[in-house]
Structure formats: structure tokens, C-alpha cells
Symmetry: C2
Subunit: 343 residues, 2 copies
Amino acid sequence: MLTERQLLILQVIIDDFIESAHPVGSRAIAKKEVIPYSAATIRNEMADLEDLGFLEKTHSSSGRIPSEKGYRYYVDHLISPNILHQEGNVIKHMIQDGFFEFEQIVQMSAEVLSKLTNYTSIILGPEIFETKLKQIQIIPLSVSTAVAILVTNTGHVEHRAFSIPEEIDSSDLEKMVNILNDQLHGVPILQLAEKFNAGIEAMMQKYVSDLNNSYQHLKGAFLQDHPVKLYIGGKSNMLMQPEFNDVDKIRAFYTMIENEDEIVNLLKQSSEGIKVSIGQENDVAAIKDLSLITAAYHLGEGQMGTIALLGPTRMEYRKVISLLSILSNEMTDVLYTRYKDED
Amino acid sequence: MLTERQLLILQVIIDDFIESAHPVGSRAIAKKEVIPYSAATIRNEMADLEDLGFLEKTHSSSGRIPSEKGYRYYVDHLISPNILHQEGNVIKHMIQDGFFEFEQIVQMSAEVLSKLTNYTSIILGPEIFETKLKQIQIIPLSVSTAVAILVTNTGHVEHRAFSIPEEIDSSDLEKMVNILNDQLHGVPILQLAEKFNAGIEAMMQKYVSDLNNSYQHLKGAFLQDHPVKLYIGGKSNMLMQPEFNDVDKIRAFYTMIENEDEIVNLLKQSSEGIKVSIGQENDVAAIKDLSLITAAYHLGEGQMGTIALLGPTRMEYRKVISLLSILSNEMTDVLYTRYKDED
DNA sequence: GTTAGCACTCATTGCTTTCGAGTGCTAATG
DNA sequence: CATTAGCACTCGAAAGCAATGAGTGCTAAC
């Protein structure tokens, strides 16, 4: 168990390093106001903290830097979530004001988050599957092409152009759309495929004269993959971090960040609440020298997505955790009141 | 005027440098099969070419690299557009096959282009203003919100959520939409605002009982800015170029490439055909050590947009020019046949 | 238990030296 | 007279080396 003094010193060292990015030496610590001990005392404590695995040296006569274990302890025990009135208000205003489309909120959030922190923000979702179908439209473009439009209760709009057989007649098309809207209104997007394959085709046959393969086209248009939306903000913020002063590291980072699949997988496993993964704690090899903080946001009961911040292990954990917690709560809030009791 | 031999040597030097990125010396040139002269002769010619401004030295005893004037001469006189059967087919297939929406074509083009070249591709457009309105839809989400959807003849879909006064009744909304579709079908997007402000409001007053401010909301939803769409592919390709072996250059590049406004301005001034801007020839300071190749593509008569490739001045001009020319022709072709005679 | 003092370590910086690729010039050559 | 061989010279890059200084660990004194 760590003594009070050790806790204090560990905290001061980590705070200092997070700010300066330079290994911190005993003299610098001893000079701080909160530290009433001499450099020599600090040196002894630092040596102990190193033995315990919380600190490291970059070389035998350098100052100390936090180890990953040190950061872990810091995150778990040493940071009291500080209140960010300023930033909190920015976020609240942004989210409450004037936006009606989910995607705008999300996109904007990613940008604000990366601006406030100078790290890279990643937002996953909304998981469209948990939203419900509001309405379907088909708009003919020419004799052989049309665009299918699908609107969800969250104001999300998907569209896709598709080809239609020339024979089909516009009143038939209209009938089909009517039947679809009738049958599918309020159905979760997740279950669309199911419903499409269930009774709808048979039902259409009754009303639409020459069904042939137009139903297949239509089905194809609506059952396109709904790709998981990924918003990344502040990719180039990393370039400003001193740990990215090396071209190879930059290359590695950009190679990783542009591989969307990997990132989606990374965030998908995220759980309830706020989760901090420091360096090696990350499963994905490409970010084993970075830290990832994730927070889930919700729509009603179903989890909908994840907000994350990616930065160096030397991260402003306190600030980032506060911001993420504010933002995820706000998003959950807005989403809940806005879309919950409408169908 | 350059002699035949000087032309040959200049060409070989530039080709070599484009490939290797290293200053090329007289010995290396003399060894090439096409060169029947000794290194000493080459040295003399190189000195002359340097005096003429086509070559430069990086330091007094280094090999030569092309000057910007050298590249300019090379582009204007020394490259015969080579035939890229392989890549040309890739592009043709990609564009002709299976895509119905303009944006997909454009996006895909940007990606293919950057993959084929290893430079950064930028595609501007389509200039939505030159396309025509196909249909308008309004889909209520809740008592107080709705989403407005606008479809153009190119299959482009814009949508925006907006708030509606609670009093308005859904049959009125329907009437309004009907009137709008009636009046606005086939109208170029550019003229939408004009039409909206002209007779439409008066006309609506006749049919819709309680118009109050719902028309204003509606107008607002449809007259949103239609932002110029910008597609950038292969941003991180630059990291692989040896001229970006320096963190500062990388920072400068990313700062520039993420400033979309500047890029839009850069490409907007582009003219007919293919245009090559080498280094200092560029108006924008941020790319004065890069080269930019732009090509216009069209829909019918109206110019619609610009495809561009951005790379180091040491660029594979021959390949890039061929690719851009193929791609812009294909795009123009597809767009013309697909959307021209439908309205 | 705390601290002052001191020898020791090691990254960083700046200075030389060496090495080699490449040049420019001169003189020889067909 | 154009071409080429030969050679001294230049300069960047890499390697070696000493000086500097921030920081440590340890011991002895308070």
C-alpha cells in the first residue's frame, strides 16, 4: 500500500509529465509548493515508486516518467473528476441547439471533442439497427432507374439508386410502396430483412399485376448494407503531440486511423459507462502505445454507439474523462427525449 | 533551342529522378542503354542544361535534379501520353458498372485515383446547382419535426430535418408539397431560391388554409446551403513520398489538406481540359512545393466539377496525366448519356 | 526520518575526421 | 572539333570524440 506522501508525489509527477512531456526530476518536484520535502527525499520516494512499478526511467540517469501501471493507478485513484463548467456548457449548447438530425449532432460532437482536447475523437454509430422505420419512398429518375429512400424515426435518411425493369408501371410502383409503408412502419431496421422475406411478397402479388423481378430490385435497394457510420475528428491533432515527432510513428498512426474496419471492431466491444484503456491494455496492436477512452451513449434502452478519444498514453485523463462523461450524458439525454416516445 | 542530345539527356535525367528521388549523376546517365556518350560528355551537357535553367544542383558537387522550369519543359514537350490499358480498364469498369448515384461514382473515383497513383486525389463537385430538381418530399417525424428531402435528376439526395409549427395539419402539408412539386419539377437547383421567392407563396395561400409561418420553415429547409462536395482520397499517401520525411512538412501538408475552403477555391478556378501547375506556379502558398494536376468533367454543356491530383513536384506526370484524361472523359461520358435527356 | 554532499551516468551538443559520390577543368585522342 | 580520360576539388553524410549538464544513488551528517 502506498503512503500518503507517495500518493502525493506520484500524482504530482504524473500531472507534471502530462503537461510537459519531459521526464521529471527530483529537483523540479521538490520545488513545487505542495511538496515540503527536499530533492533527496523525493529521490528516495521516486526510487521506491519505481520499484513498485509506477514510475520508469528513460535511461539510467534520467528523470522519471509514469509507467502504464502508474497511469492506471492515477486514473483509478488519483483523479477526482473535475468540473468543466466552461467546456460543459459548450457541449450542452451545441447539442441542445438547433440540430434535428442525429448525424449532425454526432458529427459536430466529434469535431468539438477533438478541438477541446487536441486528441483524435472517434464516434461510432448511431447503430441504425436499433432505430425504427418511419417511411419509405421511391422516386423514379428515368424509365429504368429510381432512387429508394428510407427515413427512420431519428431523422436518418438512407438512399440508394437502383434499376427498375422498364415494363413496370408507375401505379404499380406506387402500390408497392404503399404496401411497404403499411407493413413496415415502425419496424426496427434490424428486422427489415426478415419482414421483407416474410409475407410481404405474397401480399403484393394480390394487388400488383405484374410483379416479376421488380420486387427483387426493390428488396435489394432497401436491404443494402447499412454501414456502421464512423466519425473521426482531429486526425491531425496527433501531429502536434510531441510523442509524434517521428515520421514512422506518424505513418503507423495514419495507416491505423484510416483502416475503418479495425476501428469499428475496436469500439464495438465497448461496454457500459466510461472505459479507459492504457497502452498495452489495448487489444489492438496498432494502438498499444496510445490510450483510448470510450463512453457509450444510448437511445432509450438499446445501446446505440460509442464516443471515444484516442491520444498518447500521456493524456489529460482528467479532462478527457469529464468531457466524455458530459457528452455521453447529453447525447443520451437528447436522444431519449427527442425520439423515445415518438414511433 | 535545345539540341536533340540535350533533349534526350534532360528526359532521361527527369525520368530517373522521378523514379528514384535521388539527384542523378553523370556516371549513372552514361551507363543507360539509350545513352552512347561518356560521363564526361554528359557532364558538359548537364552544365549547359543547368545554365539554361532546366537542372539544379542540391549542393556544389551533387548530381542534378530537375528545376521547376525543367519539369515544365518536360511536361510540355517530353512526355508522350502513354497508353495505360491496364489502369484505363480499371477506371472504365468502375465507372460503367453498377453505380447509379453520382456521388458514389465520384467517391470511388477519388479512391481509385489515389490508389493507382499513390498521390492525393481531390474531386470537386458535382456542382449541384447545374442539376435539376426531380422531386420534393416531406416526411413528418413527430408533431413538431419533419425531414425535407430533395431529389435531383442525377440521383442526388439532400435532406434536412426542420421544425414545424404544431398547429399545421398534415393534409395542408401534403398540399404544400404537391404545389411545390408541381411548380418546381425540372427547375435547376440554382434557381430554387428565386422560384421560392416568386409566385409560390401566393399560390399556396389559395389552397392552404392556415399558412402562417410554416412556409418560412419549409423554405428554410429547402434553401439550405448546398455545400460544395469535396472528396479527398489518399491523404496518407503523401507520407510515403520521400519528400515528406520531415515532420514539419507533414504538418504543413495536413494543415493545408484539412482546410477545405482553401482547396475548394484552389480547384474552382480550374479551366477546360487538363492543367498542370508545378511548384511556384501554384497560386496558393501552401502548395508551392507541390504539383497539382487538374482536369474538368462535364454534364452536357455546363461544367460540373474538377478532378485533381496533388503530389510532390517530382511527380509521375506521364501516368497522372493519362489517368486524369481517361477518368475525366469517362465521367463526362457516363454523366452525359445517363442524365442528359432525362429531365 | 530527512537532507546535504558528492561521485557517477548518460543523452545531447558541437567539433573533427573520414569517406565517397560527383563535379569542373585540362589535356589527350580519333 | 567533338569526345573522352584523368585528376584535383567540393561537400554532404556518417562516425568518432570531448564537453556539458541534468539527474541519479549512496553515504554520512543532522
